[in-house]
């Protein structure tokens, strides 16, 4: 499929000087880190109210929604399958399912469990199709439309009230003064990182992304790897959906506008290598934080939403180009 084809067409990894290569790899992470620090410093110096605890919490919370999904999506990218453009729709669908069961009188735990299971199923169905060789972006685009439609069906395209406030703490709770979503974001990013680097499954993702052919020749099961990656992605979307529905005590079929784009931007700005086999969920997390910082900075400086979007678009193009050359022609 097209994206596969293109990946194959990209120049093979240069067998040149090993040290440069290794150094360049580390650079990606350092780049976002430096970007974040620079932005913090610059913003702090030029913008009153930027470096306050309250504002930083706002930023972290803003980064969390994108970040949770980006961490999930990073597995897809690292396994060599680019992106899934169904994050927004899956999160919306999860929110609607959650609201539906809450509204039907189920308790919080069962509603959450049902929603998570449903999201994993929805995620893995996409995984089955993609692992058979379908183009991940087009496939997820189609599934996104399906999920959006299902969300409208579940909600009757109306606002759904949760019926009780029993789940509110899931969306608005602040253990130790930090929002729930941010806890989830940080914990997921760390778990995602540890799983990728330290477990058998994580190793399979890396190897599959590094070279699909060798992976298959060594007996790794591509279908399983892709399905699990897509399920993790579905799970992350569901968490975002549930927390969103819980936060506002309601769900609608238009809840997370622009989430797909934000998540993909986080991956690209985080510098995860698009041909797969390299990178970590932390890069996606850093990318999400960087974008949230930038958005916040622009908001404080009264940029219009159009201007903000242009800046983000330019940033995405620039980082795509930048990492492309940095990582040696991916």
């Amino acid at each position: 499929m097209i994206s596969r084809l293109l990946i194959q067409n990209l120049a093979p990894i240069d067998a040149g000087d090993g040290n440069t290569f290794a150094r360049r790899r580390k650079l990606s992470l350092a780049f976002v880190g430096i970007g974040i620090l620079a932005l913090l410093l610059f913003g702090g110096l030029t913008t009153p109210g930027f470096l306050t605890l309250d504002n930083l919490l706002v930023i972290v919370r803003a980064a969390s929604i994108t970040g949770i999904v980006a961490v999930g999506m990073s597995y897809i990218t690292i396994s060599g399958n680019l992106f899934a453009l169904s994050a927004e729709e899956l999160a919306v669908l999860a929110a609607c399912i959650f609201a539906y069961f809450m509204g039907a009188g189920f308790d919080v735990v069962s509603s959450v469990m049902i929603t998570l299971v449903a999201a994993v199923v929805f995620g893995s169905i996409q995984g089955v199709v993609i692992s058979r060789g379908a183009d991940p972006i087009i496939t997820s685009l189609a599934f996104g439309a399906l999920f959006q439609g299902l969300a409208s069906v579940v909600s009757g395209n109306k606002q759904m009230l949760l019926g009780s406030n029993a789940a509110e703490w899931l969306g608005t709770g602040r253990p130790l003064g930090i929002p729930m979503q941010s806890w989830a974001f940080v914990i997921l990013a760390l778990i995602g990182w540890v799983v990728l680097k330290k477990t058998r499954y994580g190793r399979k993702i890396l190897l599959m992304g590094a070279n699909k052919n060798t992976a298959q020749a060594t007996g790794l099961n591509r279908t399983l790897v892709v399905i699990v990656a897509m399920s993790v992605f579905g799970l992350c979307c569901a968490l975002v959906g549930i927390s969103g529905a819980a936060q506002f005590s309601r769900a609608t079929a238009t809840m997370f506008p622009g989430l797909n784009i934000d998540v993909v931007a986080a991956i690209l700005v985080g510098g995860i290598a698009l041909q797969g086999g390299r990178g970590s969920p932390l890069q996606a997390a850093f990318g999400a934080v960087f974008i949230a910082l930038l958005q916040n900075y622009m908001l404080l400086h009264a940029f219009t939403s159009g201007q903000r979007m242009m800046v983000i678009g330019a940033l995405v193009v620039a980082s795509t180009l930048g990492y492309h050359y940095l990582q040696g022609k991916r």
Binding site: D17, F21, R200, T214, A215, Q216, A217, T218, G219, G277
Partner: protein
């Protein structure tokens, strides 16, 4: 009859890194002749051809065309100088028509193409290559490989090429098709074009070439008139001497049979295959590109479907259909393209070496750093890979080390059969001996190795048993001691002149 030299190359040198491909080669080509280039793999003939085609530039030395000194910096340059290169890889777009393919990439056909106009333009060129009966408006993808190759030649002729380079054009063709291509080559030469013809098939040389230039170890001999040559002479000059110490001693004693093929039919082989491999044996398949040896190996590896017949391991028929199942059975496979499916170029050696054996290094799903390190170091030691390089990326290693990694990763699962295609392709001479030794050590531990190679000396030197292939047929199966190099070479290049079983 001394016609003028159209192309002359003088003391041309070319090296790739530490590998010297051409050590000061002289070469000349006359107008209207077919010059065959012969030599073993790595002897330097493809490098020379690439220099002429503008795909690579010489380090030193001069190239003259028609008496004028030229620098051929790009394929475009070469084309302008009247040189056309038809490589082994086709450049025919299957979804375009024959006529469109001929005109594609040229600059003289005008911006508007209609079937009729193009057909009129390409017709003479199609006739030149003997494809007068092919409809120029039919899709190129529907033609046989041979005809596609002829279309490529027609494209080159339409660009006014004076010198045609054909790089093993017949490797993937059947006998009838080969006749067709050879006929066209002869005809083109008789019309005054010069042809450089790279081949492994000695028979073709006698059939069409006027002169032969033989390459050996990066040097060339003076061109010889084919009329004055005989096949024995040709073989002797191609071979030269290679160090026999390169190869480890053969097995002294073979174990029980482990794998047997019964009337096995696979795509790419014309006749059914029957053979047996014993523990501790290295079985070597010799043959050139398209001979069918790979097809047999890939069928055993579960990559190519078995059309008929059976594969049995330890006497039990096995029926695996994919590499995963083959691995379960203890069949490991290293393809001839390491970069494609032998190594993970972007990951380090530890991860490469343990990739086949993830379960052992990750008890309970969590990777144990200690086990990972131990496994990788053990394999590295066995294969003489420096421990301090374990952290570097596989893609950054030399060809030889990459091959050691590609092989080494299998040893972790203790396979009973190791299938290897072209074990030393792209590996420099020093590292070759080491890889041979490793393969031998493995068989001494009871493993059976089946390898195929287009390097005849390698097959003969390393194997206990040799099977020779020619165009989808097995020419002979015998103990390596019972055949010598010239005989083997005849088997794989020109078996017709060879009465079976007679070693020269």
């Amino acid at each position: 009859m001394h016609r003028s030299d159209l192309l002359r190359m003088t003391s041309v040198k070319k090296s790739y890194g530490s590998l010297v491909a051409l050590k000061g080669v002289d070469f000349n080509l006359r107008e209207g002749e077919v010059m065959a280039l012969l030599g073993e793999n790595g002897a330097g003939k493809s490098t020379l051809v690439k220099l002429i085609a503008g795909l690579a530039q010489p380090d030193s030395g001069s190239i003259e065309i028609g008496g004028r000194s030229v620098k051929l910096r790009s394929p475009q340059h070469s084309l302008e100088a009247g040189i056309a290169y038809v490589s082994q890889e086709l450049s025919i777009v299957p979804s375009l028509t024959v006529a469109e393919n001929i005109c594609l990439g040229g600059h003289v056909h005008g911006p508007f193409w209609t079937d009729r106009r193009l057909a009129a333009k390409v017709k003479p060129y199609l006739e030149l290559v003997g494809l007068g009966d092919v409809d120029p408006s039919s899709f190129a993808g529907g033609l046989s490989v041979a005809k596609q190759q002829l279309v490529e030649i027609a494209r080159m002729l339409s660009r006014n090429a004076k010198i045609l380079i054909l790089d093993e054009p017949t490797a993937a063709l059947s006998d009838v098709e080969i006749e067709k291509v050879l006929g066209v080559v002869k005809k083109l030469a008789s019309e005054g074009r010069s042809v450089i013809y790279v081949t492994h098939r000695l028979g073709e040389v006698f059939e069409i070439a006027d002169r032969v230039t033989i390459f050996r170890n990066g040097s060339s001999f003076d061109p010889v008139e084919v009329a004055t040559l005989d096949i024995e002479q040709l073989i002797t000059s191609m071979l030269g001497r290679r160090l026999n110490e390169m190869f480890p001693p053969r097995a002294t004693e073979l174990g029980k049979p482990i794998l047997s093929l019964r009337n096995l039919r696979v795509a790419g082989m014309e006749s059914p295959v029957n053979m047996e491999v014993k523990r501790g044996e290295i079985l070597g398949f010799a043959g050139q590109l398209g001979c069918g040896a790979n097809a047999v190996i890939r069928a055993i590896a579960g990559l190519n479907p078995v059309l008929d017949g059976s594969i049995a391991m330890d006497g039990k028929t096995v029926n695996h259909r994919d590499p995963g199942a083959a691995i379960e059975l203890g069949i490991a496979y290293c393809s001839d393209d390491r970069k494609k499916d032998g190594i993970f170029a972007g990951r380090n050696l530890v991860e490469n070496l343990t990739s086949t054996n993830l379960n052992r290094i990750s008890p309970g799903g969590v990777i144990s750093a200690a086990r990972e390190k131990a496994t990788a170091e053990q394999l590295a030691q066995q294969f003489n890979i420096r421990i301090d390089r374990l952290q570097s990326l596989a893609g950054n290693l030399s060809g030889g080390n990459q091959q050691k990694v590609a092989l080494g990763k299998w040893i972790g699962i203790s396979p009973s059969i190791l299938l290897v295609e072209e074990p030393t392709r792209g590996v420099d001479v020093g590292a070759r001996a080491e890889i041979y030794r490793h393969l031998r050590v493995l068989t001494e531990k009871g493993l059976a190795v089946i390898m195929c190679s287009s390097d005849n000396q390698e097959v003969l030197g390393l194997s206990d048993t040799v099977v020779t292939f020619f165009r989808g047929k097995i020419v002979r199966q015998c103990e390596a001691e019972a055949i010598d190099l010239p005989a083997l070479m005849r088997d794989v290049t020109h078996p017709e002149t060879n009465s079976p079983g007679v070693a020269a």
